[in-house]
């Protein structure tokens, strides 16, 4: 279970597309650096389960959804710009 102040993140990818792989790599690197011990990442492969796209209204892939802490936030793209991701997720750089 995630703690109240923890980050609950969902990353939607499509198999091993270059952007999907880049997004997974960028996100895990960033979380390890700035959210150590305070995050969970759920990677959802829409190639295998396309119906799951409906849950978070996913149109483009890759897309990152911040479920917790609220409010929900959405970042589209391969997460290669770390600074913007930190701002988007409202994370104070450590």
């Amino acid at each position: 279970m995630i703690e109240q102040d923890g980050y609950n993140l969902r990353l939607y990818v499509a198999g091993q597309t270059p952007k999907s792989i880049a997004a997974i790599a960028n996100l895990t690197k960033l979380c390890k650096k700035h959210l150590a011990g305070r995050y969970t990442i759920e990677v959802i492969d829409l190639m295998k389960e396309p119906a799951l796209a409906q849950r978070d209204q996913i149109i483009a892939i890759p897309t990152l959804i911040r479920h917790l802490p609220e409010p929900l936030r959405r970042i589209i793209g391969d997460l290669s710009n770390a600074e913007k991701v930190l701002v988007g997720l409202d994370i104070q750089p450590m």
């Binding site: 499509a14 198999g15 091993q16 597309t17 270059p18 952007k19 999907s20 792989i21 829409l46 190639m47 396309p50 119906a51 796209a53 409906q54 849950r55 978070d56 209204q57 996913i58 149109i59 483009a60 892939i61 890759p62 897309t63 959804i65 609220e70 409010p71 929900l72 936030r73 959405r74 970042i75 589209i76 793209g77 391969d78 997460l79 290669s80 710009n81 913007k84 991701v85 701002v87 988007g88 409202d90």
Partner: protein
Amino acid sequence: MRTVRPDRKSTTASPSDAEETIEAIHGGNVDALMVKSPGGLRVVMLEGADQPYRMLVERMSDGALTLGPDNAILYANWRLSELTGRSSADLVDKRFDSLFADPAPRVADGGTGEGILLGAAGAIPVAVWSSSIAMGGLSVRLVTITDLSVQRRAEEIAIAERFARSILEQAAAAILVLSSDGRITHASGMAEKIATAPPVGRMFSDVFPLNVQSTAHAGILSRFTRESLDTALATKPFHGVEVKLHNRSMSKRFFLLSAGPLLNDAKEPIGSMVTLTDITARKRAEDQQTMLVAELNHRVKNILAIVQSVAGQTVRASSSLGSFSTAFSGRVKALALAHDVLTRTRWIGIGLNELLTAVLEPHQGAGGARVTLQGPAVLLPAQAVMPLSMAMHELATNASKYGALSVPQGTVTIDWILRDDGAPRVDVTWIERGGPKVESPGASGFGTKLIERVVGYDLDGKANLSFRPGGLRAVLSFPLKVDAAAPETSWSTLQPM
């Protein structure tokens, strides 16, 4: 990263989400989109997104191809080109079945099958996997083709290896494979049994120390030191060199050592195969045969000496050529009969009853009632057979000429008892009845002398002959256990007197 939209509680995409999405697509930040189709949501790749898959498929070790709805090839990977010896361009638009020898494999959706691919260098056994997928509104089939020949070859090699190993395990001879430096790389079950330590990995001479002094081929082996023998066995052929092992549990056994080179595909020696065959039983049989021949020689010489002696003495005791002839041939027959008995029983001995039956058979008469035998079972040692036969022959001959067997109503009874005064003895009593009245108290012919001397010297016993008026009564008493060290039949009594 293109867009961040904070502070939204709903997950519903808004118009600005759409803008951001378009912006992200234009910026090349996404490579797939979700689109609605009659079958539900599906992923549509943007250009370049499937590049990693293409790379993987191109480089994979299995053949891969895509088939259109009419079973024509739309795409074939590099490996399939390699397997078939046909370029990718040559394969495209060809029928799937044309890749295979008849019948082409029929594979259910998502299933596998096997077939024979028409390969660049001949037929290749392959496994085929197939699955259907919808692409751009078309239903296509994805197929992989796996070369099974390597796997089959590996299986065949494994079977051949198991077979070879089972031969090694079951072989009665000790079989070893030596590397070129004399180190053992393989050993049969028998080799492991006779080695002084587990042989694999050790030098031959360490686990099979040879006792080179003790065999017929000592000269061949003494040329080698232990180390040079290892090298010699690994590189030179040896054929049937007799050896003994310097190993306490094997010291009484003889082995035949052979070695032959093992060659690789280029016919270069890579070591040798060494066999140690246990020939102990064969050696024993050979020794026994040599001993038997020597024994036979000895016996033949003995018999000839006996015949010579009997002839000489019969001549002296005979008054005419006719009487010599009769007496001599009777005595030689008795010797021959005794010899037959000994041969038949392999010089082990015979029952007293059987011997007497055989010796006295010519005197038995038509009804079989003239000679009666009675007594317990007694096994006569081989050494007693010939002397006793001779003595009985003399008694029977005498009875036929002068005693009970010379008249139709006369009978002979032979009975015997066993006595044991520390050593087993037998007393054989010969009683004649119903013969002509015995007038002379005793004829001192050669027959009587022979009986007394044969029993006295050759049977180490005593003969007591009493010529009573009613008939002859003879008691032959002798021990059953003849000294094995004594000369078997010295026949001293038969030496010319």
